[in-house]
């Protein structure tokens, strides 16, 4: 008898005694999942869970979100401000006052010596929106450098640029709810199950309820590609050719939405003229997708009642990223799929608050999608802040990817890095390392003092992680969601909001411009600035309490709006943010400036994410239950290619490119083609020692995913030692 026992054995299951649940929004990717953080009586975090009532995630979380509880206790956090004269000296602990004073002095000194723009500020997509807005005030209004940008240039700049070119404004026009209405779903260079698993789940739920075709364009057989109804394994960097050929078929067969095109678009003839050069017969040889499939996919897409496209870094991170986005917009305009349920052009953003920085940080302009180039915008903001409009530059300065080369040329002498780690994240890190050495003054502001870039800093500001602060995020579908302050900052770390406020006090304009103490007061300023006729980015109807009650509100949500629901879609009326209110069709000519595989470097080098890690692993690398799934760098390689080179599974190899070298462990799999290798980008001293990162002419976003490498055998013991040495967390 196997059931029961005479003596009962205890059943012990860890019980988390939660005294209070705090509402929060996950701080990893842009999905915008609502999380509840469970605190015990002492205010200590004991657990976390997805909020079942939030529309975005409906209780679900991905591995990273599920393990957020482990974050607060993780190693490597910054505890005190640090300071040193030279980057090769040891840090000394210092007070916040001294660290801030010293930094302000150095900024002024450098600006005084080399000009206002010689000090640059690079921010992120990881802060809260109120912090972005405050940083914008500080940099644009007080410090006054024009070389101010975010690391969002590495991920979403092409989407921003493409949206602006097509629709006259940034802002993804669709939402997750579109999955429930679409009749055809097409993903370009997006691996949802790995990168945005919760969005994938929303898609899967929709598809299980009501079947519709999923088409995935990806050079690799990802799980998404495998589960798609149609997988198009495209040649890297040729998406525009595929899109042009699809539009060729659509025009050729008269499948376009003529009425929509006439009513709501500009430049149709120009587009037709260019597209006419891309018949599928010749396009197939460039993009690697056969003629039949191009025609079939074009027909399915055009004939669908509503069709939508999503894309991520496969499009954005290329030399024609902005063009790629514009071309996806073209496809959707041509088929009349903008602003209708299930018909949209939805970029899937990377960082949790990439949208917040795009909207409010003033990185590429002024708050609320305002442009430096427009005198009325400069005046409006200067008046509101109480400063002279002439303090603002008349056009945008350098993008993040141009700031680094400007260090190389000596134009920029000082840099403030906020929550970004270029020593791991930038293409061609050997070059970045030399730039870092050249800086006269580098401030690194981060939650983690072991962030690799800190190697070169002169001052380190320890920042608080998201739930130690309060404020908002905006997600991929324009939904503003709130993070309530759940706990005190770790050790002597401070919220970024506080750091910016304190720094402002040390500049002349900081005494003129109001820097409120509370994030919600900054939010009120943003609300004020978001009002205005024809303004799509309108958050004036929101308050923190309303946002929490609604578990996120999509903008536009105007003061006059009732209830708790913002607008699900933009451009539903066919009116765009362009001068004549019509969307621009942008004819895209394909050019090929990628470094291609050749005799010397015979493999395409592709890079991307794994689900268990976020960005440069500063957080997930310390959370064992995430990190254990990929604790060291690895490379997917085709077994047939490996056999030719006598390379075995689970061995180390050395890769070389025209930039540098890297050592990785080989995972042989037929998931990648014979002439391509794939390496996750999360690891320090790895893929970006090899990458080229040619810049997109419009967005200045680097082409991380297209360059060529050689693979060679390496002494296994030496490689193992190197691998261990490079993994200090």
């Amino acid at each position: 008898m196997i059931f029961g026992r005479k003596n009962r054995k205890p059943i012990t299951i860890p019980k988390k005694e939660v005294a209070e649940w705090k509402y929060s929004t996950c701080n990893y990717c842009s999905t915008g999942c609502a999380i509840e953080i469970g605190l015990d009586k002492e205010g200590k975090v004991v657990t976390s869970r997805g909020h079942a009532g939030a529309d975005v995630n409906r209780g679900k979380l991905c591995i990273k979100g599920l393990l957020e509880t482990e974050l607060f206790e993780s190693d490597g956090r910054g505890t005190e401000p640090l300071i040193r004269d030279k980057y090769h000296e040891d840090f000394k602990t210092t007070s916040w006052d001294h660290a801030l004073d010293h930094t302000a002095e150095k900024i002024k000194e450098i600006q005084g010596k080399y000009g206002r723009d010689s000090f640059a500020v690079i921010s992120t997509g990881q802060l809260l929106t109120e912090e972005f807005y405050t940083l914008g005030k500080l940099v644009r209004g007080c410090i006054g450098t024009n070389n101010y940008d975010g690391n969002t240039t590495l991920c979403m700049a092409s989407a921003v640029s493409g949206y602006k070119r097509s629709f006259g404004s940034d802002g993804p026009p669709g939402c997750y709810g579109d999955f429930e209405h679409t009749d055809c779903f097409m993903a370009f260079g997006s691996n949802l199950p790995e990168q945005h698993p919760v969005i994938y789940w929303r898609l899967k739920e929709a598809k299980e309820k009501r079947n519709f075709p999923i088409i995935v364009v990806d050079p690799r057989v990802t799980m998404f590609a495998q589960f798609a109804d149609i997988h198009l394994p495209i040649t890297p960097g040729t998406d525009c050719v595929l899109l042009n050929a699809m539009m060729y078929v659509i025009f050729d067969e008269g499948l376009e939405d003529q009425a929509y095109l006439e009513a709501h678009t500009n430049n149709l003839e120009e587009l037709k003229e260019v597209v006419a050069k891309y018949d599928p017969k010749s396009a197939q040889h460039i993009c690697g997708i056969d003629e039949d499939r191009i025609r079939m996919v074009a027909r399915i897409y055009a004939k669908a009642g509503a069709a939508m496209s999503i894309w991520t870094m496969g499009i954005n991170q290329s030399t024609h990223g902005s063009d790629g986005v514009a071309n996806i917009n073209n496809l959707n305009l041509v088929t009349g799929n903008i602003g209708k349920p299930g018909g949209t052009s939805l970029s899937i953003t990377g960082q949790c608050n990439a949208m917040g920085t795009r909207e409010w940080s003033s990185c590429s302009g002024l708050p609320g999608y305002r442009a430096l180039e427009k005198p009325e915008h400069r005046e409006e903001i200067a008046n509101y802040w109480g400063i002279d409009p002439s303090f603002f530059p008349e056009k945008r300065g350098l993008a993040q990817t141009d700031i680094f080369p400007a260090i190389e040329t000596g134009e920029i002498k000082g840099l403030w890095l906020i929550a970004t780690n270029p020593m791991t994240s930038m293409a061609n890190t050997p070059r970045i390392r030399k730039m870092m050495e050249k800086l006269e003054f580098l401030v690194v502001q981060d939650c983690y003092k072991d962030v690799e870039t800190n190697e070169y800093s002169h001052v380190f500001f320890p920042a608080s992680v998201w739930a130690e602060k309060e404020g908002c995020h905006t997600n991929t579908e324009r939904r503003v969601s709130i993070t309530r302050n759940a706990m005190k900052p770790h050790a002597n770390s401070k919220p970024d909001f506080w750091v910016f406020n304190q720094m402002a006090k040390r500049f002349d304009n900081g005494k003129v411009i109001r820097f409120p103490e509370k994030p919600e007061e900054a939010f009120d300023e943003m609300k004020h600035l978001s009002k205005g006729e024809n303004r799509i980015l309108d958050i004036s109807g929101m308050t923190y309490d309303k946002i929490e009650a609604a578990r996120g509100i999509q903008w536009p949500f105007r003061e006059s709006d009732e209830g708790l629901k913002g607008e699900a879609r933009l451009y539903t009326d066919g009116k765009f943010q362009t001068p004549n209110g019509k969307a621009n069709l942008i004819a895209v000519n394909f050019f090929n400036n990628n470094e291609q595989p050749c005799g010397e470097y015979p493999f395409w080098l592709n890079s991307g994410r794994v689900v268990e890690h976020f960005h440069t692993r500063t957080r997930t690398g310390k959370i064992g239950n995430c990190n254990k799934f990929s604790p060291t760098p690895f490379m997917e390689m085709n077994p047939d290619a490996a056999e030719e080179l006598n390379i075995q599974h689970q061995q180390y190899v050395r890769l070389t490119s025209r930039r540098g070298d890297a050592v990785v462990m080989v995972q042989l799999t037929q998931r990648v083609p014979r002439n391509m290798v794939f390496i996750p980008f999360h690891y320090y001293d790895c893929v970006n020692r090899l990458s080229l990162g040619l810049l997109d002419p419009h967005s200045r976003q680097p082409a991380f995913k297209q360059c060529s490498v050689r693979v060679e055998p390496v002494d296994q013991a030496e490689a193992a030692r190197l691998n261990a040495e490079r993994r200090t967390f």
Binding site: K9, I13, C62, L66, P197, Q670
Partner: protein, 671 residues
Amino acid sequence: MFTVKNIYMQATDKESSGVSMVYPDAKKNDENSKLAALKEQGEKSSLWEIRTEEQDYAFLPQTDHENENRYGQKIDLVDLTGLPENRSMFINENPEVGCNPDRNKQHGFFFTADNCIGCHACEAACSEKNDNPAHLAFRSVGYVEGGSFPDYKRMNISMACNHCDDPVCLKGCPTKAYTKHAEYGAVLQDPETCFGCGYCTWVCPYNAPQLDPIQGQVSKCNMCVDRLEVGLKPACVSACLGNALDFGVIEDVPENREQAKVSIPGFPDPSITRPNIRFQQTTTMPDEMQRTDSMPVKYHKDEKGNYKPVVDQKQGKATHWNFTRLSSAENPLVLFTLSAQASIGAFALPFIGAELNIPAMMTFKASALYVPFNIFCFGMIFFGLFMSTLHLGKPLRFYRGFNNLQHSPVSREGLGIAVFMTMLAFNIACSLPANTWVMEMAAAIVGQDLVDYVPVELAATMATVFAYLALPASLAGLYYMNKCYRIPARPFWDHWQVGTSFFGNTLSLGAFLAGASMAAYAVFTEGQTQLIFTIAGSVMLLGMVAEAIGLSGHSKSMNAAEHEGAAAHYIQSTTFGKSYVLRNVVMALNILLVAVLLISDVSGTAALVLWAIAGSLLIFTALVSRALFYVLVIPTTMPGAFFWKNKGFEQHARDIGLANMPQVGVVPDGH
């Protein structure tokens, strides 16, 4: 094909052929109202806090269920066991009885392999809920893959405990740490009872029990019975992002699912334990599915469409020595089994020989050397048991090893060996009065002859009685020692050669040790050396031949097999190829040597030297064989991933020091 859908349909047909007709809408309404009632009750429970606005996907559906599972066993566990309803599970000592109306039905997981994206959400939700450190996981996702770019397919498999109908873990556990509950049919384990022998991790085909080398105990999936009690699905299921993992009363096919198979590529033979898991896997997979972990196993589709494990020659065909790698964490068990077998054999030979009136043996038994010899045998068995205790995660709990005599071969083996040791000790004690050395020494100490005070005759009789009792106990111990390794989940072991090896080594090692002692005594007393050589040598030869026949049969079976045993044999022939061949050659030559010694008339010093050589070679081959036996075994575990649950990476991480960082999820050596 036999699918649950068929049963389900038939059952529905039966119902509908009855008096009342149930309309689908009415049925759905009924289900919904049952669910609403359950939610309302669940909200009030103190067993688990249901999230505000919890979604329907998290709740167990309130549908109709089958009466019997596909093996004909009742699903209602009250009916099956006769145990009462409404018993509290006392989760965390909370006496509340859960409100789940199906709590007395066997539950199980439902895995739609067509859908799993390998996102680790199930694993993360499980680890978060159970506070598991990185190196432990109650649920793990691995994968198999096949095809050629772009016609490539990967199938992820998420696997935890299957709460089997026939829980081999429960039966194998010597401490009775496992209970199969009439509530949900959950197989739960109490880490506080466990002494960390790890035997459950050997017998489970799915790698469900997790031995924590740091804590020195096992823990495992608890089915989230706290959530089940309030009507919620387990945390892993509720977290699934691919709509792959589901849970419910066994044989229920979830909404929108059309198949319920008991196997998918990479999943072990379900007949071993009758696991409570069902699968949907409708996508056509390539004929050959490979594992990315270091196990030299892949899965090949047979003519019926089922996937069978076959050898994947990942290490190539080159042969190596890897002699140092023969030393493993199982070294204590190598020493335990060999010394126990040697002790049993060595004790038995002179005793039985003397009882059979073989003069040389009678002389030896009657001599003063007999007690020291038996003390030596006792020392060996004591050393063996000590070694096996050291092997435990919590050695101080060794006494719990006899808790499960009802089911566990480990308990029975332990009891047999312990009784043997005790009887041997009594035998030694009772042999003391008849021993001249002892009596002389005692007399010297006490200053008086003790013979008058001790019933010498009675003691001698008792010694014989205890020796007779020791013999069956030792045989039972040996038999169950052999049974311990006849594990279906470890096909390399599950072969009759375990018996020939264990009994063969008992004969050969025992005969050598006893023969050497008796021969030494005979030489010293100018006794019948040759007779001892002949008898002990013959027994030794018999044992060696038995072992050799077993090993040869084993090698033939493994070569022909289509399971993990074949893969283990492949490793034996490649990674350890040279050591393996050396062992075989030495064993064959040694058999020849002993045979020649037995039929030739070599005597004197030459005989002594040659027998000593034969004995040394015997010990060498026995050690190598036993070490290979433990090092080589490849269990029928689930496929791993590239890093996680990949033995090859784990070893590498230990070798290069990565394992010293806890977040790598590999426990470093030295625990």
